[in-house]
Amino acid sequence: MAPYMLSLAAVRISTTAATHFSIFSTRLTLLTVVLFLPAVGAVIGLLLEDERQVRIVSVVAAAADLVLAIMLLLMFKYGSGQAGWQFQFADRHNWVSTLGISYWIGLDGVSVWLVTLTALMSCIAILAAQFMIADRTKTFLIFMLTLETALLGVFMSLNLFLFFIFWEAMLIPSYFLLGIWGEERRVYATMKFLVYTIFGSFFMLVGIFVLWARVGTLDMAGPHGLIAHPVDPTTQNWLFLAFAIAFAIKLPVWPFHTWAPTAYTESPVPFVIVLSGLMSKAGAFGFIRYCLPLFPAASRHFAALISILCIIGMVYAALLALVQTDIKRIVAYSSISHMNLLCLGIFALNPIALDGSVLQMINHSLIISGLFLAVAYIAARTGTRLLPSMGGLGMRRPWLMWLFFIFILAGLDLPGTSSFAGEFLILLGTFAYNAWYASIATITVILAAWYMIRLFQDSMNGPVSVAPRELAETGLDARRTPYQYPVLQRLLPGDIQLREALLWVPLAVVLLYLGVQPQPVTQRLNPTNTAISVVVHTHATRGPAVALGGSP
C-alpha cells in the first residue's frame, strides 16, 4: 500500500485562497471540491432572492461539477502496475477519532465511474428541472443540488460512519422533492418510500455499531481498516443481513421493492431521473463496496439466496411491466427488473459478472433516464399516460419517435447498444457461477424485448388517437408545466423541442459509444472488481491477500 500514499493520489489545488475556505484548516483536495461544490451551490441559492439567479447558480454548479468529475475520470490511474485495490484522490481528516469516525473519501475503479455518472445525471436532471418545474423552482433546485452532494458522498466515502451520514442525507431532499412536487398520490408514495428506506438503514446502523464494537474502527481501507479485519463468520452472517436489507430496499430487490413503483410513478420527472438512475445504484454499490468485502464468508453463504430473490424479482417485475397500461409504470417495472438482473451479477461473485454489473449500472442509469424523459415528453403532447388512449404519435413527430427508439433498443439490450455488453457480461459471469440461474435470467431478456416493443408500438405506431382535449383545456394553472402530470395546461404542439432533444442527445451518444467501446469502462473497473472477488473468495477470518491502498 505504500506506493499509493496520499501524495500520489491527492491532486491538490494549491492556491492559498482554498486554505481559508476549509473548515479542517487544511488544503482542499480536488475530490472534496467535487463532493461539496453542489452543496455550496445550494447554500448560495438559499441566500439568493431572485429565482433566475438561482437557476444560473444551479446549472453552473452542476456543470462545473461534471467537468471536474470528468477530470477525475481522466486522471484516474489504471493499467499496468496498478493492480490491486487502491483508493485514489484520497482525502482524510480526523473527525471523532475516539469513535473511529473520520472524514475519508477516495475513489476506486467502481466509484470513479459512479461519481462521474452522478455528476452527469444530476446535471441533466437540473437542466430538465429548469423547464419542467414552474412552482417554487428555486427550492426544487436547492434540494436537487443537496441531493447531488449526498449521492456523491455515498460513492466517495471510505469511512462507514461518513457513508451512513450521506446515505441518510439522501432521504431528506428526496422526501421534499417527491412530497412537494410529486403527482396526486405523492404523500402516500413519500411516506412509503421513507419508511421503507429508513427501516433498512436502521438495521445497517446496528450493524455499524457491532462492527465498531468488534473491530474498533469504521475506516474501510488501510492496514487497520475493516476490510483487512473481517469478523468471525457467525457475526458476519448477521451483519451481512443487516447491511443487505438496507441495500436490497434501495436497489430494490424483490420482495423489498413495493415502495418503488409508487415512488417512481409519483415522482416529478427531474427527480425520478435521480431516484431511479442514481439512488438505486447506491444500493447496488453498497453491495459491492460493503457487503462483499466486509462479510466475505457471509457473501458466499447468502449468494444463492440473494440470487434466487433477484431471479424471482426480475421475472416478476418484467411480467408486471407487460400488463401495465400507464407508460410511467411500465418504465418503473422495467427499471426494477433490470436492477434485479444487475444484482444477480453482483452475487455471482466473480470479476466478469461484477464488471458487467457496474457497466450495467451506467447503462441502466442512462436508459432509464431517457425513458422517463420520453414518458414526460409523450404525456405533455397527449395529455395522457395510458397506452390504450394513445397511438400514432410517430406519424406527426418523427424526431420524437426516432430518439425514443434508441432508448427502446437499448432497453431491450440490442447488440450495438452498451446495455448488450453489460448484460452479456453479467450472464457470462453468472453462467460460471450457476448455469440454471443464468438460463432463467435470460428469459427476462425476452420479456424485456416484449414490453419495450409493446411500449413503443402502442404509443408511436398504430392508429392516431384523439387526445382527451377536454382535460387539457380545463384548469389552466400557471404553476404547472405540461410535464407535470396530470397535464392541466395546454398541451405541447408538434414535434420534440430543441431543449428536450438536448437532454436526450448526450444520453444516447454515451449509450451508443459505450456500445461499441465498453473497454474504457471495463479497463478501469477490472482491477477493483478482481480484487473484490479475491477478497470474497480468500478471506474467511484472516487478513486480505490484496494490497489496500489509500492509507491515511
Binding site: 473527525w95 451520514i165 442525507a169 412530497g179 412537494i180 404523500v187 411516506m191 436502521f202 446496528v206
Partner: protein, 502 residues
C-alpha cells in the same frame, strides 16, 4: 463521622466553596431581585424582568465557562461539586433557560401573565436543576429536586384562567410528590445500608468490603435501589410512570413545557448517572434488569402512544418519553462511553426539543391554534422560515443525519452495543422507525399539504426569531461538527471517573 463530631470541628466555608456554586448563586440572587422588581416596579415597565433574567443567565453562563477549568469537585464538605460533569449540565440548563426566556417574551404579552413571578419561578427551577446536577450527596439531590419541582408545579398551573393548566399543575403536584416520597424512602434505606449520604462514600463502601452489595447480606440496599428507581423513573417519565406527562405537557404554558421537557430530564439524568453508574456501580447486576425492563417498555410504549396523537404537545410529550428510553439505554451501558452519550444527548436534545415546541408557542403567541397538528396546513407558505426550522427539529428528533439527534442517538447505541447488549440497540432502532412516521407526519401536514389561500399571517417577535435561529444552528452544528462538544462530554465523564475512582 457522627453528628456530634461535626459539632466539635471548626466549620469553615471559604470563598472557593461559594465559588463552586457561583452560577446557582447568581441565578438565586436574581430570583430575589425579580421578586422585588415585581413588587415595586410599575406594571407598564415590567418587561424589564425579561432583560434582568437574560442578563443573569448570560452572567451565569460566563461563570460556568470560568468554572469549567477552575471547578472544585469537593466544595461545601463534599455536599456539592462543581466538577466538569455538573458544569456541563449547568451549561445545558442555562442554554435551555435562555431559549425558554426568549420564547416566553411574546407568549407572556399575549397571555397577559405577570412576568416577574414567571421569570422568578423559571430561574428558581433552573437553580434547582443545576443543584441537582451538582449534588454530591443524597440530601442535596432531594432538596434540589424539590426546589425544581415546586417551581415547576406553579409554572405548569400558571395560566390561572385555563382549567387545563390548572389540571396540569395539580396533577403534576400530586403525582410528583408521591414519587418524591418513594425517592426519599429509597435514599433513607440506602443511607441505612451504607452508612452515608455522600455519593462518593457510598461508592467506596460498596467497592470495598464495608458494605456488601448482594441481596442476602444487604437487602436494605436493594430495596433502596428499587425505590430510587421508581422515584427517578417518575421524574424522567419512564414507562410505567409516564401517565402524567401528556396531560401536564399539554396544559402547561408552552414555553414552560419546552423548558421542563428538556431540563427536568437533564437534571434527573445527571443525578441518575452519578448515583447509578458511579456511586452504585458495584450493585450493577441488581439495578440492571430493573432498568432494562423500564427502558424497553419506555421505548416501545412511548413511541406507540405517540403514533396516535393529533395534538402536537401530547405527541411531543410521548416522544419525550421515548427519548427518555434511548437515554436510559445509554445509561444501561454502564460505561464511560454510555455516560458520555447521556451528556451529549442532552446538549442535542435541548436544541431540538425546545425547537420543536417553538412552533406551538409562536403560533399561540399569534393568537392561533398552536397544538392541533392539522392546523399546520400550509405553514410552508405562511412562514417558510418557521416551517423549515421545525422540519429540521423533527428530522433531528427522528434521528436522521446530519442533525444533532442522530449523533446523540448514535453515541447512545454505540455504547450499548459495545457493552454487549445488542438487543437493546435493535429495539431502539425499531422503535425509532415508528418515531420517523409520527414526526414526519407533522412535516407532511406542514410542508406538503397546501393551506387555504387567505390564511392568517404568522409573525415572530425578534426574540422568538433569535431563539429559533439559535436552536436550528445548534441542531445542525452539533450534527455536522460534534467533535468539540463530544470531547467536552468525554472530559466531563472523566471528571466523574476521577472523583469516584472508577
Amino acid at each position: 463521622m457522627s453528628v456530634l463530631a461535626a459539632a466539635t470541628i471548626h466549620v469553615r466555608v471559604g470563598a472557593s466553596d461559594w465559588g463552586a456554586v457561583g452560577p446557582e448563586l447568581i441565578l438565586g440572587a436574581t430570583v430575589l431581585v425579580l421578586l422585588l422588581v415585581d413588587a415595586f416596579v410599575p406594571r407598564r415597565v415590567r418587561e424589564v424582568s425579561t432583560w434582568i433574567s437574560l442578563i443573569a443567565l448570560v452572567a451565569a453562563f460566563l461563570d460556568v465557562y470560568f468554572l469549567w477549568s477552575h471547578g472544585d469537585s469537593n466544595a461545601l464538605y463534599g455536599q456539592i461539586t462543581s466538577d466538569k460533569f455538573a458544569i456541563f449540565f449547568d451549561g445545558v440548563i442555562i442554554v435551555s433557560a435562555v431559549l425558554a426566556v426568549l420564547l416566553s417574551e411574546s407568549y407572556i404579552v399575549s397571555s397577559s401573565f405577570d412576568p416577574g413571578e414567571y421569570y422568578a419561578l423559571l430561574l428558581a427551577s433552573a437553580v434547582g436543576m443545576m443543584l441537582m446536577a451538582a449534588g454530591n450527596s443524597l440530601m442535596i439531590l432531594f432538596l434540589a429536586l424539590e426546589l425544581l419541582s415546586l417551581s415547576l408545579y406553579i409554572l405548569a398551573g400558571f395560566e390561572r384562567s385555563s382549567p387545563r393548566s390548572q389540571e396540569s399543575g395539580f396533577k403534576y403536584f400530586l403525582l410528583s410528590s408521591f414519587a418524591s416520597a418513594f425517592l426519599i424512602y429509597g435514599m433513607a434505606l440506602i443511607y441505612g445500608a451504607t452508612g452515608s449520604t455522600q455519593l462518593v462514600a457510598i461508592g467506596h463502601c460498596l467497592h470495598g468490603s464495608g458494605c456488601p452489595a448482594n441481596v442476602t447480606e444487604n437487602p436494605l440496599l436493594l430495596v433502596g435501589i428499587g425505590l430510587m428507581v421508581v422515584g427517578f423513573a417518575f421524574k424522567i417519565s419512564a414507562v410505567p410512570f409516564h401517565m402524567w406527562t401528556p396531560d401536564v405537557y399539554e396544559g402547561a404554558p408552552t414555553p414552560i413545557t419546552a423548558f421542563m421537557s428538556v431540563t427536568t430530564k437533564a437534571a434527573v439524568f445527571a443525578a441518575f448517572v452519578r448515583v447509578f453508574n458511579f456511586s452504585l456501580n458495584a450493585a450493577h447486576s441488581h439495578w440492571f434488569p430493573l432498568l432494562w425492563g423500564v427502558a424497553v417498555a419506555t421505548m416501545i410504549f412511548g413511541n406507540l402512544f405517540a403514533l396516535a396523537q393529533s395534538n402536537m404537545k401530547r405527541m411531543l410529550a410521548y416522544s419525550g418519553v421515548a427519548h427518555g428510553g434511548y437515554i436510559l439505554v445509554a445509561l444501561l451501558a454502564n460505561s464511560p462511553a454510555g455516560a458520555t452519550a447521556v451528556v451529549f444527548y442532552f446538549l442535542a436534545y435541548a436544541f431540538m426539543n425546545i425547537g420543536a415546541f417553538m412552533l406551538v408557542s409562536i403560533l399561540e403567541s399569534n393568537g392561533q391554534v398552536g397544538d392541533d397538528i392539522s392546523s399546520y396546513r400550509g405553514l410552508w407558505q405562511r412562514n417558510p422560515f418557521l416551517a423549515g426550522c421545525t422540519t429540521v427539529f423533527l428530522f433531528s428528533l427522528a434521528g436522521i443525519p446530519p442533525f444533532a439527534g442522530f449523533f446523540a442517538k448514535y453515541l447512545a447505541l454505540a455504547a450499548i452495543v459495545q457493552a454487549g447488549h445488542t438487543e437493546l440497540a435493535i429495539i431502539a432502532v425499531l422503535t425509532s422507525l415508528i418515531s420517523v412516521y409520527y414526526y414526519l407526519r407533522v412535516v407532511v401536514v406542514m410542508v406538503l399539504q397546501p393551506g387555504e389561500v387567505q390564511a392568517q399571517e404568522t409573525r415572530m417577535s425578534g426574540m422568538a426569531e433569535m431563539a429559533v435561529t439559535a436552536s436550528v444552528a445548534g441542531t445542525i452544528g452539533l450534527g455536522i461538527i460534534p467533535t468539540g462538544f463530544y470531547n467536552l462530554a468525554t472530559q466531563s465523564v472523566d471528571a466523574l471517573r476521577t472523583a469516584f475512582g472508577i
